[in-house]
Symmetry: D2
Subunit: 100 residues, 4 copies
């Protein structure tokens, strides 16, 4: 199981309104996938099978073009641990414990 952060930013001809609108379109695709995710102000954190996540991100990346955007910049960061099951919540909890 992997933890992946993604941000999708359409460029060119972007107005203020449209940015969150395009993000919303991409998140709707993510919702349909059934994958667990957390929306943050700097990206979206997704947990699950890596290939399933990457397939969904590939679809999300396509969504702004469907509304006429001509250039999309998508950033993906994969944290893929295979010695034990690492959850998004578990990673944050581990830092919190060390802070006590």
């Amino acid at each position: 199981m992997a933890i992946v952060e993604v941000s999708i930013a359409p460029l060119l001809g972007l107005s203020d309104t449209s940015l969150s609108e395009y993000v919303a379109d991409a998140i709707k695709i993510l919702e349909k996938s059934g994958l667990q995710f957390q929306l943050t102000s700097m990206g979206t954190i997704i947990e699950g099978d890596l290939d399933e996540i990457l397939g969904t991100i590939r679809e999300m990346h396509e969504s702004p073009y469907k509304k006429g955007m001509k250039r999309v910049v998508t950033s993906i960061k994969i944290d893929d641990r295979r010695d034990k099951v690492a959850t998004s919540e578990g990673k944050v909890e581990s830092v919190r414990k060390k802070m006590e």
Copy 2:
């Protein structure tokens, strides 16, 4: 006011235990700064004056060396909007509204 995401990753000689330990050290420095922040599994999102944030991140980047690490990779993403006050919560809220 800017919104900044930071992740600090010490490299070389890292054991499982130490990663969250080093992140915890850096977050303690951030706590002392008084800046508002949100800890996520893929980074830390900080809100506030850009120069204050960058000064604090500079200190955070230094913390793993104090415990003997020899190489630190720090990633910073700045979203700095000046036409209106953009908060971390406001950005997420804006996407949620568009999804309805």
Copy 3:
């Protein structure tokens, strides 16, 4: 045609020698793909069909596990322009012209 930057960083138990060794393994996979790429000190820039690139990166991400690594962090940044053919060289050239 898309331009994609990728960096692959195995974590846990990493010695100095192994980091460039693991990167070399991943680049060998990229070489076999026939895709055009440029190796830099902070990542590898690949040009070509987006799906072909993402398929190759998926293989590259797998390579450190084959040598026993337990955790790999892979960062991908996609710049995908569809209004005209954008090459890596053309983007740099465009900035250089504006600087004159």
Copy 4:
């Protein structure tokens, strides 16, 4: 000595022409700093004293606002090794040697 990759992307109201124009403005500031750098299609790689680099990036981040941009997204990745002098060229060379 650190190796730092930076990319500066003005958002909102951006036309095709302006993107490379804004990057060119930022690179001119970098040129004046005297720091060694390499311009790539996905960012700029700078070598030198970390504080000097971060000070220069702070100025570069400011440049699009001077031409009326209202929102700038700047990404910074710091690779800061202190056990030996790591140069940008040396890192690439190290991977190439392992590939032979």
